[in-house]
Every structure is written in C-alpha cells, then in structure tokens.
C-alpha cells in the first residue's frame, strides 16, 4: 500500500469508534427525513379520504400511531444530525491532528523532493492538499447514509407499486452517473484551465512586481496595472466558464428529479393491475423526492472523495522512506567527489571553485544526499550517498546559500542543530558568526522572533544565523555555500577569522564554496567544477590551492 494511504487508513482505524457513531447517526438523518416526509404525506392523504368517508370511518381510523411516529421521526432526525456533526468533525480534527506530524516526518525523509516543496506555490498547494484529505474523515458517513436513505425511499415507493421504486432507482442512477459524466467531461477541464489562468496571473504579477522600480522610473504604473488586469480578466473568464459548467450539474439534477417523480407517480397509473390508493401514491411521490435529494448528496460526496483522492495522489510521490526503516550510517569521515578524484580525510579544508552556473552547489548537495545523483559517483565516509538506504547526513553541518529558517525565535532556529544545547553554546556560535552583538542588542535576546522566513532579519543577518546554526552541529564536516556573500569587508574578515579559529579548535573539516579572495586563503585544496549533472560531475579538476596555507599559519583577510 502506498505510504500516505497507509497513514490515512491507520488514522481512520484509530478514529473508528467516532466514525461508526457518525455513520449510524447520519443514517438516522437520511432515513428519518425520507420516512418523515413520506409518512406525513400518507397520513394526510389517508386522513382526508377517511374524513370524506364520514365520521364513522374517521373515528375508526388509527391516527394515534402515525401521528406519534411523525413526531418521533422529527426528534430522531434532529438528534441524529447533531450527533453526526459533532462525531464526524471530532474524528476529522483528531485524525488530521495526528496525521499532520506523521505526514511531516515522512515528507522530511523525502530528500530530493523537499527542496522543491519549500518554495511559495508548492508549499501552499501542499497545505491545501493536506486539508483536502480532511474530507476522507468527514465524508466517511456520507455514502452509507445516502445509500440507506435511497434504499428506504425506494422501499416506501415500492409500497405503492414496484414501478415507482424502479423509477426512483433509475432516476438516482442517472443523476449520479450523469453528474459524474458532466463533472469529468465539463467541469474538470474548466477547473484545470482556471487553475492555469491563475498561475499565469501569478507569474505575470511576480515578474512585474520584481521590476517595480523600473515601472516607476518610466511612470508605467498605469500600464502595469492594466497588464495585470488583462491577465486577470482571462482568469475571471475561465472562472465564469467553470461556474456555468458547474451550474449544468444543477440543471441536470432538476431535470432528472422531475422525470423520475413523474415516472414514479405516472407509471403505476398505467402499469399496475389495480390503481394503488391515493395515500400510497402520496407516499411514493414524497419518498421519491427525498430519495432523489439523497442521490444529489451522493454526487457531492463522490466529488469530494474524488478531490481527496486527487490530493492524496499528488502527495503520495512526496512521501519519503519510512523514518523508522533500517539505514546504513557512515562510520568513517572521508569524502570523495568523483570516482577518480582524491579522497579528503577528516579535517581537510576544501574549496569548490568554478564559474557561476557550473554546479558547485549541486555537487555538495549531491554529496550530502540532498540531490539526486547516479550511484557510484561519490563516497562519503565509505558509503555511496546515492543509495536509498544510506543516510550520510550526520557527517555534515550545512549552511546553504538559500537560507532556510523556521518561523520561530533565534534560539529555536539554532537548536534545530542541537536540541539540547545550553545558552552559553548558542552565544558562542553566534559570536563566531559575528552575530552575537546584534542578538544581544535585541530586547528579547535569544528569544527574539525572526518572522516567517527570517523576515525580521536582514539578508546578511539571516546568512550569519544559518552559519551559527551549522557551527552548533558537531559534525565532521562543515559545509558552507558562499558564507560571506553580501557581507561588508569588515564583517567578512571577522567571520572568516573566527571560522579559522573555530576550525583550528575543533579540527572539523571544511567544504566551502567561495569566490571571494578572503575565503580562498582559508582552504588548502581546491576542486574546479565545470558542469554537474545527475550523472555526476563532468569535468572535475582537483588541484592544490594557489597559495597553499597550512591549517596552523593561515592569515585571513588582508
């Protein structure tokens, strides 16, 4: 079974008691509705006929039982609806509450897919999909309840004549199948077009927004606004098409309900050997109306189920391996970036060089198992990071170029690297990243919130926080991608100086991407990269650093 489906089913099993209560209550609602309406129709019609037949017949008519039953049904229906709502939503809330963390744990194991998830559109989409799965819980009861309602209605219609029941069932079938056909053929393509149009709107808006200064400089604000409005109009037009096609579902439901009611009332008139009595026809007609309403509900339930399935299908490929599976973790700490390349032992300081776009970041992320690469290209601690059951992450403390931060406090972000680190250690790491002064100056210190994506910090501060976080993780290799990009010369010098002191102290190895002269001086070996694909690095020249600097006597900066 696919992993997500297994997770969902486990939660559904866990919520079973609540779901059973919700289902039973929902059956009470639909059957109660059908019975209430049908019985009332029968009762009135029978009463009228008895009343017409004279006082003697009227007094002989047993009115107590049906009228008591009608009142009972009204209460049953109300109570059931309340119980259904509460039990169903509690199951959904708790089920999803337990599902979310488990889902997250699996996503975190997804490795290569996680990077794509972290950016705007993809992550919003993911949240919507997870919410869509909620309907799997809320809607468990719906098919059962609506099916039962339909069955009870058909049973009541059959009391008049079997053709009435057939008319109802055929009508319900036509309603469900026809609606699905309309949804598949008409509504779905329109919804896809609309989604696409909205995507285009977002893309155009993002493009223009990125160039706001230019738009202002040429006084093109009006033009840009019109341009966005033009693309938005297309999205709105697509939205209207979608609304119109969704509306066809209602027209279809109206037409089919009308036809099946006409048939349920009319057919017994011609086909029954003896015309059924009027009270039973009233029963059949009202039961058919109730039954068709249930069928209409079934259409919605099936559509929601379809949406939940589609959401699950989108999530399924993102699921990583089972976090509790057995994995091989490296014992050693040597690194080899290409089959023929040299092996760097722990404590080495390696610089990755090459023109922009050559794939320097790709290369180091392949080494850490964060990006796909063909097996047999690299080795980390004696293991091939490309293999699925190998986890080499413990070897590396990574400060990426695209800084990824948690929307929490400074301390929370730092403790991602070491959950139990005491405050003194956090301050030490901040000091080495030349950020301690800034954080100490904030009124809440380590508990200063940094905002979504670290929005309350400047670009350089985010980079240094990410650096401090990497420092806290006592891994054999520190992997830094352009750690001083965007820092002013003085701060850069400070950061590199303390980095060197730190490396001397901890004897950690360093893999660094940097084209800045001050960074170059820190490393003793260099790997020249010129094109990296999933098949590995195509041209990897490995050489000694231009000005070899031993770990003991390096002079950082100028």
């Amino acid at each position: 079974m696919p992993p997500l489906e297994a997770l969902i089913r486990a939660e559904l099993r866990h919520q079973r008691p609540r779901l059973v209560i919700a289902t039973v209550a929902a059956i009470g609602v639909t059957c109660g509705s059908a019975l209430l309406l049908g019985l009332s129709g029968w009762f009135i019609t029978a009463s009228a006929l008895a009343g017409l037949a004279g006082p003697a017949v009227a007094h002989a008519f047993n009115y107590m039982l049906p009228s008591a039953f009608i009142r009972l049904l009204a209460i049953v229906r109300t109570g059931s609806r309340y119980v259904e709502r509460v039990a169903g939503h509690e199951a959904a809330l708790q089920g999803l509450g337990r599902l979310r963390p488990r889902l997250y744990a699996r996503l975190a194991e997804g490795g290569h897919a996680t990077r794509a998830l972290a950016v705007g559109e993809a992550s919003s989409r993911l949240i919507e999909d997870v919410d869509a799965i909620q309907t799997r819980f809320i809607r468990v009861a719906a098919p059962w309840a609506l099916g039962a309602g339909l069955a009870v209605s058909a049973g009541m219609a059959a009391l008049a004549h079997w053709t009435s029941a057939v008319a109802l069932l055929v009508g319900a079938g036509a309603l469900v199948l026809g609606s699905r056909w309309i949804a598949e053929r008409w509504v779905r393509p329109a919804a896809a077009l609309r989604q696409e149009a909205l995507g285009q709107l977002k893309a155009r808006l993002t493009d223009l927004e990125a160039a706001v200064p230019e738009v202002r400089a040429w006084s093109l604000e009006g033009w840009a606004t019109e341009e966005v409005a033009r693309v938005a109009d297309q999205a709105d037009a697509a939205g209207r098409v979608l609304a119109e096609r969704s509306g066809h579902l209602m027209s279809w439901a109206g037409a089919v309900t009308g036809l099946s009611l006409a048939a349920a009332t009319g057919l017994p008139l011609w086909l029954a050997p003896a015309t059924p009595p009027a009270p039973l026809i009233a029963l059949a007609a009202l039961a058919t109306a109730a039954g068709m309403e249930a069928a209409l509900g079934l259409v919605t339930a099936l559509r929601d189920a379809g949406a939940a399935r589609a959401a699950a299908a989108r999530l399924e490929p993102l699921m990583g391996a089972d976090p509790d599976r057995a994995v091989q973790r490296p014992e050693g700490d040597s690194l080899q970036f290409s089959p023929a390349g040299p092996t760097f032992v722990g404590g080495s300081r390696v610089r990755i060089a090459g023109p922009s776009g050559a794939g320097k970041t790709t290369l180091i992320e392949q080494m850490m198992g964060l990006r796909p690469v063909e097996p047999g290209q690299m080795s980390a601690g004696g293991l091939d990071p490309a293999l699925p059951d190998v986890d080499v992450r413990r070897l590396f403390a990574y400060a990426a170029q695209d800084v990824s931060l948690l929307n929490g406090t400074v301390a929370q972000n730092l403790r991602l690297a070491d959950p139990k680190a005491p405050e003194a250690l956090l301050w030490e790491a901040l000091e080495d990243a030349a950020l301690a002064e800034r954080i100490a100056g904030a009124s809440k210190g380590l508990d200063t919130p940094i905002g979504p994506g670290g929005a309350f910090l400047s670009g350089g501060e985010r980079r240094r926080l990410s650096l401090a976080r990497a420092y806290l993780r006592g891994s054999p290799w520190l992997v830094l991608d352009e750690p001083t990009e965007g820092l002013d010369a003085r701060t850069e010098q400070q950061v590199l100086h303390r980095l060197k002191a730190r490396l001397d102290r901890t004897a950690q190895g360093l893999v660094m991407i940097s084209h800045r002269p001050a960074g170059v001086a820190l490393c003793e070996a260099v790997i020249e990269v010129d094109g990296v694909t999933e098949a590995g690095a195509s041209a990897l020249a490995v050489g000694e650093q231009g000005q070899p600097v031993g770990p003991q006597d390096a002079e950082v900066g100028h």
């Binding site: 706001v212 209207r240 509306g247 009332t265 026809i281 964060l370 992450r393 929307n407 991602l416």
Partner: protein, 534 residues
C-alpha cells in the same frame, strides 16, 4: 496586517461597501435565488392536483404530473442563472479589489510579500462570499416570507403554525448565533494559525532535513494540533447547536403541519377550527413546509464562505493615497545632497540613518556595502518606494520631502527588467514611447545589443539571455536621456565573462550624467568617480 484584530462590523462594512457598484447584479442574483421557491410552490401544487384527482382518475392527474416535472426543471435552470449572475458580479468585484491592491503594489505603498498573495489568493477568497453567501443571505429573508404567503393561500392555519415555529427558531438562532459566531470565529482563526504553522515548517524543510531535526519539529506540530483538537471539541458542540436548532424546527414544522392537517381532515380537532381544508390544500401545505427553512439552511451552509472572506479583508484594504506633489522639471544633470537621511520601513529599525553625501552634477557615485545596509533603499527614495523618515535629499536644491518622488525623470537599471510581449524595439521604447526608430537603434548599439530590432519577444522574455536583458534595460535607460541615472546592482547574477562584457556599455551610459550605482562588483566600482561605503 495590523496586530490588533479589526472588529467584525468593520470587516462586514468593508465587504458591503466593496460590493456597492455591483449591488444591482447581486440583488438580481438574490432575487433569482429567492425566486427558487416559486418552482417549489409549483411542485407542491402539481402534487396536490395529482393526488386530488387520483381517486377519480381524471386527466388532471396528467396535468399535475406535467406541472411537477416542469417546476423541477425550471428550478434547476433558475439556480444556474442565479449562480452565473452572482459569479459575474463577484468577478467584477474581485477585479476592482485586485486593481486596488496592484495599484498599491506598483506605487510602493504595499510590500511585495503580502501584495502578491493578496492580489491572487486573497482576492480569490472573496469569491464564495459574493457568489454563495450574499445571495443566500438575502434569499434567507425573502424566501420564507414568500413560501409562507403561498401556504397561507391554501391553509392559513398551517402558515400560522409555521410562523409560530419560526419565532422561537429565530430567537434560538440569535442566542446560539451570537455565542457560536464568536466561537466559530476563534475556531477559524485557530485553524488558520495551525495551517500557517504547518506551512512554516514545510518551508523550513531543507534545514530540518539537513540537520536531522525532524523529531523536534514534529513535536511542535503535534502539540499545536493536539491543542487545537482539544479546544475545538467544546467549540464544535456549541457551533453545531445553531444548526441543530435549525434542524429541529425544520423537522418540527413538518410534523406539526402533518398532524394538524391530518386531524383537521379527519374532523377530530379538539377545538373546531373554521378552515375549509381539503386533501389538495393539505398536501400543498405539507410539501411546502420544509421549504420555509430551506433558504435558511442554504445560508448556514455558506457561512464559512463569509468567514473566509472576513479573514482576508485586512490584507486587501487599501492604504490611503497621499496627494500628488508637484515635481519641477530637471533641465540638466542635477547636483544631489543627502543630509542626515534616515529610512525606516513600518516601525522597523531604520535600515540607514544619518547618511550624508554630496554629489556634483555629472558625478558617478558607487554605493557599496553589505546587503541590508540601505543601498537600494537610498536609490528607491527617488522613486517614492522607500520612506524618507528623517533628514532631507536635495536635487538641484529641490527638497524631496516637497516633491515626493522623481518618477518619470530618472533613468533606472536594476536586476529585474520589465519585458512586454512585442518587438525588441518596442521593448526598448518602453521608457520613451515616442522615440524615433534611429534613436532606438543607436541606443541599442551603444548598449551592445546586437540583436534584430524587429525580433519578437514574449512576455516572459523568451530567447533573451541574462546579459541581453541587462543590455535591453541599459538601452532603455539611455533612450530616456534622463538627467539622473540610478543603477541597482547592474551586474548581479551575471558570470564574470558577461559582467566584463557589459562594463564598456555601462561606462558609456554613465558618462556625463549624475549617477548613483549600488554595487558589490569591483569592476563596476572602477567606473565611479567616487566609491562610498555604507
């Protein structure tokens, strides 16, 4: 978004005022939604006719069946028309709101992060409010009255009974509604927060995965989810109470009408009621009884659409537009004087403070320093995109605090270049639409853009390399022949070769103009008369 929660009344007023131009269309949609009860009346009449005629097997049976069929078909078509009308109105409302957001975005009155989301997703969340909730809300008032009137024609007593159930219903709804509305608003907000937390955790996935910190974060998500589930259990019970009340009275009304009609028809009412009731009238009243509550139930079902819309209102509200200030014309390259300039965005600590600089006419200044030290913010001052919170900037003696901005009189080149679908020439002429063709060609040449001027370019800048885009921006800026030229990281994200190739064109473009260049590049700094470190 502001930190203090805006009052629900304020949110509702905003939603109402925004819809004002579309009041007629929305009213029409509501009218059609209300008219939805007429086919229901027709259906009830058809069934009543059929049943009355049934014992005698007259042709009225057929007539009754045809009426039922027609009524239901009309009902379907009517709902579709109502939906379409409302969707049209909603699209126009959304368009107007989006236009406001986008205008603010392009005039720097709104930050890009919130603006982009507000303009697309935020605006879309208004949809359900206008297509579903608004028509349903208006129909919820008129619908029951129309149905009650129809029932009263057949059986005034039944109508009276139904009206009697409506009164305690309305009272109960008001009681539960005020409690439930507050609770459900809290609940909605809590759900949003949880979604937000999950989203934040997803966005941090690369770091979480790299640091093997899944356990820590999963713990956070778990606690938040559990907390919400525990709190919500109680909230739900109250929230569903209002729908329970609705359900109870809706069921009760059917039962009461059925029992009353039955007893009256049997002639067994304990108190004689002077109402001439026959089978047809009784069936008519019974079938219509649930329809009294149907519009209310529809409104209740659309309630979350309103909540979604209310939640998004604070992100869509427009910031007040400052009055336009008169900007004098610059005849020549101006002298610039920055005196104790401070820039702070929305209460955040200033990105730059007490900045002093004097620039002579025609002087080229390179501004350098780490990102976040305010280089771009200084350039943005001239475009009105950053707030001058302290000090003064003088352009040839004209004070920026008096002129507001210098839009239309500065040349700009940044990292992102606007590209419009059209030819290359049209793209260059964006800064100066009436420029003659020869001048465009000359500027393209000076910028080193050796492409065919009639080459067509799509809106995504297809076919242009990063370097070519910069040259396009440069040609455009030179065509403008503006006396003041601002360049924001003109060579960022270019590789060394592309940067080197661009330098001569930059040198040509900057010569003789007052220029401010924000840059990290040493090659670009070499073009400047003076390098200023921030």
């Amino acid at each position: 978004m502001t930190s203090s929660a805006p009052s629900p009344t304020h949110l509702r007023h905003w939603l109402r005022d925004t819809a004002r131009p579309e009041r007629r269309a929305l009213g029409m949609a509501a009218l059609m939604t209300t008219a939805d009860v007429l086919p229901a009346v027709g259906f009830a009449a058809g069934l009543a006719l059929t049943l009355t005629a049934w014992p005698d097997r007259t042709t009225s049976i057929l007539m009754g069946i045809v009426i039922m069929l027609a009524a239901l078909a009309v009902r379907g078509v009517l709902s579709q028309r109502a939906l379409m009308t409302a969707a049209g109105a909603a699209a126009r409302i959304k368009g107007a709101v989006r236009r406001g957001v986008v205008t603010d975005l392009f005039s720097g009155r709104r930050s890009s992060e919130t603006g982009l989301i507000a303009a697309v997703e935020g605006v879309e969340r208004l949809d359900g409010h206008y297509t579903r909730f608004e028509p349903a809300r208006m129909a919820a008032v008129m619908g029951p009255i129309v149905v009650l009137a129809a029932i009263a024609l057949a059986s005034p007593v039944s109508a009276l009974i139904l009206t009697a159930t409506l009164i305690p219903f309305a009272f109960g709804m008001w009681l539960a509604g005020t409690a439930a509305a507050a609770e459900s608003r809290t609940q909605f907000a809590a759900l949003e927060r949880l979604s937000g937390l999950f989203l934040d955790c997803i966005r941090a996935l690369p770091a979480v995965a790299a640091f093997e910190a899944t356990g820590t974060v999963v713990g956070d998500v778990e606690r938040a989810s559990d907390g919400l589930a525990a709190r919500t259990g109680k909230v739900l019970r109250i929230a569903f109470l209002s729908s329970g009340i609705l359900e109870f009275f809706s069921a009760l009304s059917v039962a009461l009408v059925a029992v009353y009609c039955g007893f009256q028809l049997l002639g067994l009412m304990p108190v004689p009621i002077p109402e001439p009731l026959d089978l047809g009238r009784a069936v008519f009243a019974l079938v219509l009884a649930p329809e009294v509550y149907a519009p209310l139930r529809r409104m209740a079902a659309a309630y979350h659409d309103r909540q979604a819309a209310e939640a998004v209102v604070p992100t869509l509200e427009r910031t007040p537009v400052p009055p336009a200030l008169p900007t004098p014309r610059l005849a020549r390259s101006p002298a610039l004087k920055f005196h104790k300039v401070s820039i702070a965005y929305d209460g955040a600590p200033p990105v730059i403070s007490d900045f002093d600089l004097e620039v002579r006419p025609g002087q080229v200044i390179a501004l350098t320093g780490a990102s976040g030290t305010g280089k771009s913010s200084l350039l943005h001052l001239f475009l009105g995109l950053s707030p001058l919170t302290g000090g003064e900037v003088e352009v040839d003696g004209h004070r920026l605090s008096h002129t507001g901005d210098w839009c239309g009189q500065v040349g700009w080149m940044g990292q992102a270049t606007v590209v419009v679908p059209g030819t290359l020439a049209e793209n260059i002429a964006l800064s100066q639409p009436e420029a003659p063709r020869e001048l465009i060609a000359a500027m393209a040449e000076q910028a080193g853009l050796s492409l065919d001027l009639d080459r067509s370019i799509d809106g995504r800048g297809g076919g242009l390399s990063g370097g070519e885009r910069r040259r396009l921006a440069l040609a455009r800026a030179m065509l403008k022949q503006a006396p003041l030229f601002l360049l924001d990281e003109p060579t960022a994200h270019l590789d060394a070769a592309a940067e080197e190739a661009l330098i001569p064109a930059l040198a040509a473009a900057t010569r003789g103009r007052t220029c401010l260049i924000a840059t990290h590049s040493r090659a670009v700094m070499a073009l400047a008369d003076r390098v200023v470190a921030l």
